[in-house]
Amino acid sequence: MKIEIAGQNAFIVYFADQTSAAISARIQAAVANILATMGDSIIDLVPSYASLLVIFDLDRSDHFAIRKQLGAALTDLDNIDSSAGELVTLPVYYGVESGPDLEGIAERAGLSIEQVIEIHQQQEYRVYAIGFAPGFAYLGEVDERIAAPRLATPRQKVPRGAVAIADRQTAVYPAVSPGGWNLIGLCPTRMFDPDRTPSMPVKVGDRIRFEGISRDEFLAQGGEL
């Protein structure tokens, strides 16, 4: 583990060079420790694949005090169960109508479309990071057989709820936005709703499963085509 300066009021803690469920669990343990022991001086925590950005309040503390407290908060991270994290199931209407890149992925992988859909649902994913846009959760890791590089030309408009793959990551677009990921289906669950509490159905560290639903079920659950 390495603690580096990020800025005048921020540190970044690097836990490893690569990500894994175990690393993600250690980062979650660090988040819990930091909030419990130094919560008053912390402004924001940004956990990601193998790192944690710690932003503190310069009016309440300083670089040197925080550095010391961080050292203490980053011990005892191993007694956490890497299968911890809430299990959240997200429904997906998979298909050529809702997932325009399914055919491309199947072709590249030498699989049928049905197999691609099946493989996407077999995996249990972990929320490694939230960012890019409000409610955008990076989920890993996608089975290598259906991993697909980003599109050479990103789409101007990806619909809200689009379920997508980029390399070994998958995600659900929380809002209409431009995007270069491969689209394989649509999820009727709102990934970010500012008017609801909590505003997101998932948080970093949660475990995610995707469950195929029919077109009718998708529409009945509020999905839009």
Partner: protein, 311 residues
């Protein structure tokens, strides 16, 4: 609630407080004033809460009609400001009456002016802040920049003692700024020659400067980074992608990203950077964390102890 009616919204006028903190876990960025210094002075001159909601007037072109009586102040970028057609000074508290028209013309020096009213604008916070972030459609009145016809609610009221900030105490918005950087993040992947070049060359602001980031051009700087995992990005971080041209990440930046960063510009200097226009130049200067700390404390003391002139 009455307040001010927007006649002309200007190019990029945003309602904002000091920013949205504690919501990065949802992927929400900070937002808030690009120039913290001018924003803080605006609220201080009116005796407002330090986090009171103001209007950041990007590039100018704003015209408002008052429905209430209030004291107000305009700080930040120099722009021709008018009350009912008559020129009025900036950095000085003034009164406006119901029926008056207030105009902030196009900025002539600097790019962001700040309009504060007594007690601040009365905006319901979302995720703990009123800061408008257009990219996220959050904050302000409707998650967007001002539109003609918007009503900016505030209760107004006059302050008895009119005050101004002495000219000598006002920031200078000249066309060159030094940007002090606390080295950090992936600093180690930039070799000594690359770092020397970065800290000893002038960089120019390109046209691609916005609330997310300011893209600069000049001597290219390369790292020996081969692929990195996305990680949290703090305010002021200087990201250097494969083209070797630095980008200073500002208030509306994405909260995570996967390009190497050499360190972060201190907020006092991002405030200065934010007032520069394309074509202006900057030079980066490495400072230690101790120096950054001193600068922060001294600046805070200066702000708090600086006496305002009666007028």
């Amino acid at each position: 609630m009455s307040g001010f009616i927007v006649q002309q919204p200007g190019l990029l006028s945003l309602l904002l407080d000091r920013g949205r903190y504690g919501a990065h876990n949802l992927g929400l960025t900070t937002g808030g004033p690009l120039d913290f210094v001018a924003f803080d002075w605006a609220n201080r001159l009116l005796g407002n809460d330090a986090n009171a909601t103001c209007l950041e007037v990007g590039f100018g072109g704003l015209s408002l009609d008052a429905e209430i009586d209030s004291s107000f102040v305009i700080t930040g970028a120099e722009a021709p400001c008018k009350l009912n057609g008559d020129a009025i000074p900036q950095w000085q508290t003034l009164d406006i009456q119901a029926g008056d028209r207030l105009e902030i013309g196009f900025a002539t020096k600097g790019t962001r002016a700040y309009l504060a009213v007594r007690g601040g604008f009365d905006i319901a916070p979302s995720f703990g802040s009123t800061a408008t972030v257009v990219r996220e459609k959050i904050g302000g009145l409707h998650g967007d920049k001002l539109q003609a016809g918007d009503r900016l609610p505030c209760s107004g009221g006059r302050i008895g003692d009119k005050r101004r900030l002495a000219v000598a105490d006002r920031p200078d918005y000249g066309e060159f700024a030094r940007l002090r950087v606390v080295p950090g993040y992936q600093q180690a992947v930039f070799g000594p020659t690359q770092q020397w070049r970065f800290f000893n060359s002038d960089y120019r602001l390109t046209e691609r400067c916005d609330r997310m980031g300011f893209r600069l051009e000049g001597e290219t700087v390369h790292s020996n980074m081969v692929g990195m995992l996305s990680e949290g990005i703090c305010h002021g971080a200087v990201q250097i992608p494969a083209d070797g041209q630095p980008i200073v990440l500002m208030n509306d930046r994405q909260t995570i990203g996967g390009y190497p960063k050499i360190g972060s510009v201190i907020p006092l200097d991002t405030s200065r950077l934010a007032q520069l226009s394309p074509g202006s130049s900057v030079r980066f200067e490495a400072i230690s964390i101790e120096q950054a700390h001193n600068i922060h404390c001294l600046e805070q003391a200066r702000f708090q102890r600086c006496s305002l002139q009666a007028c």
